[in-house]
């Protein structure tokens, strides 16, 4: 077994173990942290395929940002574990049926006959000065420019959808308006009253 294969099997094993941890952990926060580990291992496997830009983007975007979002969602939902376990047996046949369906679909797509090294030859290893990011950029902004622009439209839809779904106005919260504070003049706050000076008679005498 070459050194390359040792690294590949180490990260693959880590990925499978972490993915099992995602679905078997009791605490949903632990599941999210296992998912972070799964993404790390997946990123290492992509790096072994010389897809270095995708590998680093996976760490940067998924581990850095998407998992924070998952943690927020997990913490926002008030998950009561004992109450969730109540309906487990009632939903179990349905869940098993869906699991079998998914497994059959996955075997049909990534089964050995159309996913082995015969179907997809291993990518040839490049020299030290090869840049995968450069290769990606050369086709992304020329050949696949339509898909690239579509990506921006999808991001725009995501902005609008997120704002529409989660924005809540709270009119009765008290907050500072720094602009108004800066603009305030002396006349707005201070009133100078003209009045006669008062003398104190009793103490002088």
């Amino acid at each position: 077994m070459t050194f390359f294969e040792v690294v590949f099997y180490a990260f693959s094993t880590l990925m499978v173990v972490a993915a099992l941890g995602v679905v078997s952990a009791r605490n949903p926060v632990h599941s999210v942290l296992f998912l972070v580990l799964t993404f790390f291992a997946g990123s290492a496997i992509w790096l072994l395929l010389e897809a270095e830009f995708l590998a680093i983007t996976l760490v940067l975007v998924y581990v850095g940002a998407v998992m924070v979002l998952f943690l927020f969602v997990v913490m926002m939902l008030d998950i009561n574990i004992t109450r969730m376990r109540e309906g487990l047996m009632r939903y179990a046949p349905f869940g098993i049926a869906i699991a079998i369906l998914l497994i059959v679909q996955m075997i049909m797509v990534v089964g050995p006959e159309n996913f082995g090294l015969q179907a997809f030859a291993a990518p040839e290893l490049h020299g030290a000065d090869y840049s995968n990011t450069k290769e990606l950029g050369r086709v992304l902004y020329t050949d696949y420019v339509y898909a690239f622009e579509l990506a921006s439209v999808i991001l725009l839809v995501a902005i609008v959808a997120a704002i529409t779904l989660t924005m809540r106005r709270r009119p009765n919260t008290r907050h500072q308006i720094p602009g108004e504070q800066m603009k305030v003049m002396k006349q707005d706050r201070l009133r100078i009253v003209n009045m006669k000076s008062e003398t104190i008679d009793s103490e002088d005498k």
Partner: protein
């Protein structure tokens, strides 16, 4: 190309070793461990705990996080573009201009809508 990443692999191995060794030595091998019921109970200054530590988060954190992710992805598209700028030429600059223009519409929308205000 992979030989450039050997230092990263070595760093992962060293980090894993240091982390595991410290927890194993300090937590399981060297430290005395005599747990009892009082030691394992949650400590909250005299009285027993009356609330679950896991509070519900405000949904506003979610909105800020998802808006951050969208612009994070936009930045991710900028990196390969910056590397191949000389190769893709004017066409690539226009393509990125349209891409950024569509996202600037979204940025103006969220700004005017007040999604960036914390209240």
């Amino acid at each position: 190309m992979l030989e450039n990443y050997i230092p990263v692999l070595i760093f992962i191995c060293v980090g894993l070793f240091v982390g595991v060794a410290m927890i194993a030595l300090g937590g399981f091998i060297l430290a005395p461990s005599k747990p009892d019921e009082v030691k394992n109970s949650p400590y909250e200054c005299g009285f027993s705990a009356f609330e679950d530590a896991r509070l519900k988060f405000d949904v506003r954190f979610y909105l800020v996080a998802i808006l951050f992710i969208i612009f994070d992805l936009e930045i991710a598209f900028l990196f390969p573009w910056a590397i191949v700028l000389e190769d893709v030429g004017l066409f690539g600059i226009l393509a990125m201009g349209i891409f950024l223009g569509i996202l600037v519409i979204g940025f103006i929308y969220e700004w005017k809508k007040g999604a960036l205000e914390w209240e």
